[in-house]
Point group: C2
């Protein structure tokens, strides 16, 4: 495989030239057309369609982007990654989250063991455990069935599983009916987080899932202690914390062998935290809450999107096109931020997950060999659901001095089906009408001689849409963005799978918590302000 | 008053020169010192302290920023605004949100009426109404007392009140005990939003607050219909929606005279949506949930911060210093984004409110006279609570290719007091240790010959902190940011109080919802994709 920095590729130079020459040609208010809206569209798997009609590209730019994909070996590297090559160079690890939803290339083996079989075995164990909990066969220590599961984890053990749970809970409630277990999440080391979740729970009927791959995450272990102490001090006769906890961790972690768990489910070092939603990290909580079949459907949707991203023809590969247009916007157009705007309340925490996925993966300043880069990598990602955002930060997106590329997400049907007509249209129609209107308003703008009411347009967006936010569509959506981020990492020639940037904070935190004389002057001075 | 564009001020040119000359002098890893941490600190009112030791400024830069504050007449304009001048030029309106928490300059009158007295009167009516609801004197239509209030509103009628409610609910529960009413929020026109809130409610014991200043907000009126229909179809004998709704609107709106409300509370055109949390828009829901005294304490904290922001000496004015350093970072250093990082789970939706406050106020490309600007205005604002963000997007903040200025918020004590010791420290100590460590890690960095593990530092941050997140501290925090945004608007010479950028979307939405033949080709093409 050929690992070349972006700025040493031929295609990059051609893109720079194309941009300089194309300023007039690429004006979005001029080029957005009915024909483009029909043709600039790619199936992304799982019932998703990616539409990029309102992006500031034309066929000429797209052809060079296709060359860039080939020159940087995007598909070749994805195949190598899926086949088990150690693409996480810094940590010398394989990158196998795709394998949690199915084989793409063939089996991946290590020593005598088939790693895909290991993930499948864990999923089967989770499914079986979930069925026994949901049927009431496994009960709490006082003999009562479980009604709530609480995930204790942070970062990748929190954001992805939480976003997926919130995205499906209303769909499952209305489509499947009871029994659905409620899920709650404790993440922050701030004790108010755990207290808020715990004070309203029936501890006898609550099952806690402790999630830490390393088994050493400070926040998570601290919250375990908080929960255990609250159970011990509850005064409920017979309440035994050990029968209310399961663990999700790696087989080599201190937790794997530690007593105090009803059961344990395993991941390994080849599943990065932010890519772990389709492993046991997301699997246990989602299978317990909604039943294992729903989780399987989510995996199936993700696997479809993974397969779609294998397509060699750039123009038929949604994740690859999305990735390349993102590089065009970041490195050629110079836009430092991108917004995720789901027109679906169920996805209200999905942008927070993508924020981690993207910024933690590609917020890097060295290439995969540790050499400094002379170009920008991952952008800042933020977002809130529409239409809410329209009444908030869209003012800046429409009329601010910077251009922010947008990623809209929409669905033809709502999740719950509940609706009403008001002034001639239903709520779901209004939601879709707003989405339609925003895409066109951002791209085409509208001139006004009063400049305060002028809309310059030229603000690029894409639209990913599906019929309904089902488990399959959600899985595909998750995988689409994972694959997009992966491809961008290949193009930037960085390692998207480590996160050395989190280490210094951990070291300094331990210094602050240690002996005051070892803190050093700066830490000490801030610690004094906070009476620490 | 002198309204000059930023790039025509003397101070702006001096700042540009200072930046070019000071590149070496202003290296944050070199200048951050114990002494600065002690002295670069300003009381901000309401028990808040603003510390800017880790900002990339020194006394020389600060003195020019002080000149800029004087040259752009920041305090003079604030005084004029507080005295009732029509500073919202585009809409020819006064800007009176400060007056909802107390007089700063003196009474503001219009025709025969005292506007401060009007706001006070509304607050007294709200207080009285809240007491009657909370005592059970006012009941639902079936005679049961109210246990839940649901705010129906969007944008400024949602984000601020929701953030404040979430920030205080655990504090009120543990400090005051019952009776606290639960509050819920319906904002999105997506029908799944209302359905999710409504399906779990006891409608007989629920009071809805319909909030729309204009009385014409599409999402809010649609959701009113959804709620009303759900009540009518509930089959509960005697359930009368009209006795479960109050309105918050302006006296001139269609809602003000419309039947169907138990009572109505009023604001006026001088309170902008994103500045309305301390008016009836936030007052009704917070007074019902926590009691009117808590809301009064929040107003008192905000008023203190408002008074602190009147201070003429730049070096003793936290909101003004914060604003000016923000302009330095945006226009001189060229940073396009800023992150809000509260180390308090109670503030988990506060960044979403500040995102609206800042981006909708200052995301403008023309000055207050409608002339195009040659410099950047409001940045993109995003944020999540710490320590959660540390396990998410901090990777990019530490090691990404762009620098993002940070605004940390912290508290000495937690809200609920519940805590435990684990490995020698409490959760609250760990939370504060992480905050301390992050500020120093971002500013000072740490060299490593392995560039993948290298931390360049030089990433500026400020810290606002208080003893505890109480109603007073929260009110002051809210007002601090409002005043910061206001001062930045003065410096950029823009109107921070209108939002013309939301209009085009509304017009196009109505086109999409109208006759298909009038949609035009682009809207029609997107509408077809979404089966609209």
């Amino acid at each position: 495989m050929n690992f070349t920095n972006l700025d040493r590729t031929d295609a990059y130079r051609k893109l720079k030239d194309e941009y300089s020459a194309g300023t007039e040609r690429l004006l979005l208010p001029d080029i957005l057309s009915e024909e483009r809206i029909t043709t600039y569209s790619i199936a992304a798997g799982g019932g998703l369609t990616y539409n990029y009609a309102a992006k500031q590209v034309d066929d000429s730019v797209l052809n060079i982007l296709s060359d860039l994909a080939a020159e940087t070996g995007c598909i070749e590297k994805y195949r190598a990654l899926a086949a088990g090559e150690r693409m996480n160079t810094g940590e010398d690890r394989r990158v196998l989250h795709h394998l949690t939803r199915g084989e793409l290339i063939g089996p991946v083996s290590e020593a005598d063991s088939n790693l895909g079989a290991f993930y499948r075995e864990q999923q089967q164990r989770i499914a079986e455990f979930s069925r026994r909990v949901r049927s009431g066969e496994i009960t709490g220590s006082t003999g009562k069935s479980f009604s709530t599961v609480v995930q204790i984890g942070i970062g990748g053990s929190d954001l992805g599983p939480r976003a997926l749970y919130l995205a499906l809970k209303n769909w499952c409630r209305t489509e499947l009916g009871p029994p659905q277990l409620a899920a709650r999440f404790i993440s922050n080391v701030d004790p108010d987080d755990a207290e808020e979740v715990l004070h309203s729970l029936d501890l006898e009927r609550t099952l806690f899932i402790l999630v830490s791959k390393s088994g050493t995450t400070q926040e998570t272990l601290t919250n375990r202690t908080l929960v255990t102490e609250m159970m011990r001090s509850s005064g409920i006769p017979g309440l035994d914390p050990e029968r209310h906890f399961v663990a999700v961790t790696s087989q080599t972690s201190p937790l794997a062998k530690s007593p105090g768990f009803l059961d344990s489910f395993f991941i390994d070092d080849y599943i990065g935290g932010r890519y772990s939603s389709t492993s046991a990290v997301g699997g246990v909580v989602l299978s317990l809450a909604f039943g294992p079949k729903i989780f399987e459907r989510l995996l199936a949707g993700a696997h479809e999107a993974d397969k779609a991203a294998m397509e060699k023809d750039f123009h038929c590969n949604a994740a690859l096109t999305d990735a390349l247009i993102g590089v065009w916007e970041r490195n050629i157009c110079g836009f430092p931020v991108s917004a995720i705007l789901p027109y679906s309340q169920g996805l209200h925490r999905f942008p927070a997950h993508l924020q981690q996925l993207d910024m933690e993966s590609n917020g890097k300043q060295v290439n995969r060999d540790g050499e400094p880069l002379g170009y920008s990598t991952g952008p800042v990602i933020f977002g809130e659901p529409g239409t809410n955002g329209q009444h908030s930060f869209y003012q800046l997106l429409h009329q601010g001095t910077d251009i922010v590329p947008l990623q809209f997400i929409g669905f033809i049907r709502s999740q719950t089906g509940y609706d009403t007509e008001y002034e001639g249209s239903t709520s779901q129609q209004k939601l879709k009408a707003n989405l339609t209107a925003q895409i066109v308003a951002f791209a085409a703008g509208k001139e006004n001689s009063n400049l305060n009411k002028n809309f310059p347009g030229g603000r690029p967006s894409s639209l990913i849409y599906a019929d309904q936010l089902t488990p399959e569509a959600l899985g595909a959506l998750l995988a689409h963005f994972e694959n997009k981020v992966m491809f961008q990492g290949f193009i930037w020639n960085i390692n998207s799978f480590d996160q050395e940037g989190v280490q210094l904070g951990k070291i300094l935190t331990n210094q602050v918590l240690g002996a005051p004389e070892k803190r050093g002057a700066l830490l000490n001075a801030y610690a004094r302000l906070l009476k620490l």
